[in-house]
Amino acid sequence: MKRIYAVLIDILAFGYILGSIVFLLQQIFDFSLQLLPLILLSLILTLICLFLEDSLGLLIFGFSAGKKYWHSFSGWLITVMLILTFICGWIIVEINPLYFFEGINNTRGILQGLFSPNFQNLLPMLSALAETIYLALLATIFALPFAFAFSFLAARNLMPNTFWGNSIYIFIRTLATFFRSVEAIIWAIIFCVWVGIGPFAGMLALMIHSIASLTKLFSEQIENIDQGPVEAITGTGASTLQIWLYAVIPQIVSPFLAFTIYRWDINVRMATIVGFVGGGGIGLALQQEQQMLRWHNVGLIIWLIAITIWIMDMVSGKVRARLMEL
């Protein structure tokens, strides 16, 4: 089986190398190429590799040819791949150092705004900031009971090793992974349509994302508890819920609280971004001021966000350190 994977990796690697070379040539000469000859060529090269018993796939699966890196064909191939990737990347990303230095004058407005923020707007901006902090806090609080309940069902060591136990475990885990991998900003766009632009949409977006990521963090914490007390309480004839109550929950309360505070910290940061697409709070204000090129107001907002995040970071770090000692 490993050899089949090795061959597949070789075909992909050669396909990538040939594709990159064709891409680079296309930048210089104007021509088009069918996919089929490329695939055929990589197949032929892979076959040659099989014959040589020295290829990338074999190297990955540990069938080393026993030669030094620079002397082996596979080592040489890796080097070529890295160089090609870098050159292609440079072209695709349209890197141009000249623009970087020439365009510096355009930022004068922003920099001026940053160093002379408009304090006349302090009050409305502070209220927008409060909106952000509160919506992040409520998103965290609403997410907590859901994540708490789900995390028990998503902990390998608590779910029985039966059909239903495994099904629930896999279902919750998959759901959490899916909801977490969709960025909060996408959820915000959905909820802006659903409940209308404003902090409520932002809160819902952050809540969904928080439930998913707290479920994962919590369930991993449960999986890492000391199993000894669970065994001991089981041995006394306690029921499953009693076992959770006495052997599991006491071990997880303080790490759970620590994670929750950390999540609030993250949610305040995310709320700023979510605000950009209509999720309310200071992010929304930032987007509006930036659209109207009022750089002095933008400067004020950026300072407010930076100070808030700095304070939250410090406070939550301290609180978490204390909680871990409990």
Partner: protein, 254 residues
């Protein structure tokens, strides 16, 4: 009726390791039975099969006339309530107080709603205090278990077991992570429970000296079989080598 009757007990772990290969054993009420044997000989597995913390693969265990291996969940909890267990690593919740840990031994007798605020139940707290006093830790009730020494933690575990009013205590190498002097004091508490309360004790040990001092009978396991059964004094250097292998030599503690 025998107190415990184990017949033809087998345990094969997933992955094919055969931990027990047909154990036949009878235990009388009031015995202090010592299990000897190398690590991996099946002592822990045998002890955990008795209260079905580990399900056995084949065979039967009758405890006070009830079959353990096939008992329903409800009946199993009733059986487990009668059987206390103490562990090498104490298995206490380290960030709870000694008192709460002791109370948790009584959970098998409590409904879920009653187990929510046990500290409000005066009778229960008194019972826990009394058991802590029996192991000489009445001063430590409010302390977090994490702040207690190893010997004190094992005594808290004994107090937790006493909350069950057990007929039988299983002890899985209760002194293996303690220093020799503390080990002897923990064994003394077990011996006292055996003599004064008539609690049957099955205890796995590594030290022959402790087995001779406290055991009324010794069972030796090797590769999942019983290779010796008799009184502790019958174990001479030859028997010892049969149990522990040719190169073994007895070391004395205490």
């Amino acid at each position: 009726m025998e107190f415990i009757k184990i017949s033809n007990l087998h345990k094969t772990y997933p992955g094919g390791i055969k931990a027990l290969k047909g154990i036949d054993l009878e235990v009388k009420q009031g015995e202090f039975l010592i299990l000897l044997g190398l690590s991996g000989s099946g002592k822990s597995t045998l002890l955990r099969c008795l209260n079905r913390l580990i399900p056995s693969t084949q065979g039967s265990i009758i405890f006070q006339g009830k079959e353990v291996t096939t008992a329903s969940q409800v009946n199993l909890r009733g059986i487990r309530r009668q059987i206390g267990m103490i562990y090498q690593q104490f298995n206490l919740v380290k960030n709870l107080s000694a008192l709460t840990n002791v109370i948790s031994g009584y959970l098998g007798y409590l409904s879920l709603s009653k187990s929510l605020y046990p500290l409000l139940d005066k009778e229960l707290v008194n019972k826990a205090q009394k058991n802590l006093k029996r192991v000489g830790l009445e001063q430590m009730a409010e302390k977090k278990v994490r702040n207690l020494s190893g010997g004190q933690q094992q005594r808290v575990a004994i107090a937790r077991t006493l909350m069950q009013d057990p007929q039988l205590i299983l002890a899985d190498e209760p002194v293996a992570s303690l220093d020799p002097a503390t080990a002897d004091s923990v064994m003394r508490y077990l011996g006292e429970l055996n003599r004064n309360d008539g609690i049957t004790i099955i205890c796995s040990l590594h030290f022959l000296s402790l087995a001779r001092k406290y055991g009324s009978r010794v069972i030796a396991l090797k590769d999942g079989n019983i290779v010796f059964s008799g009184s502790p004094s019958e174990i001479d250097p030859n028997r010892f080598r049969e149990i522990y292998g040719e190169d073994a030599e007895e070391v004395d503690i205490v």
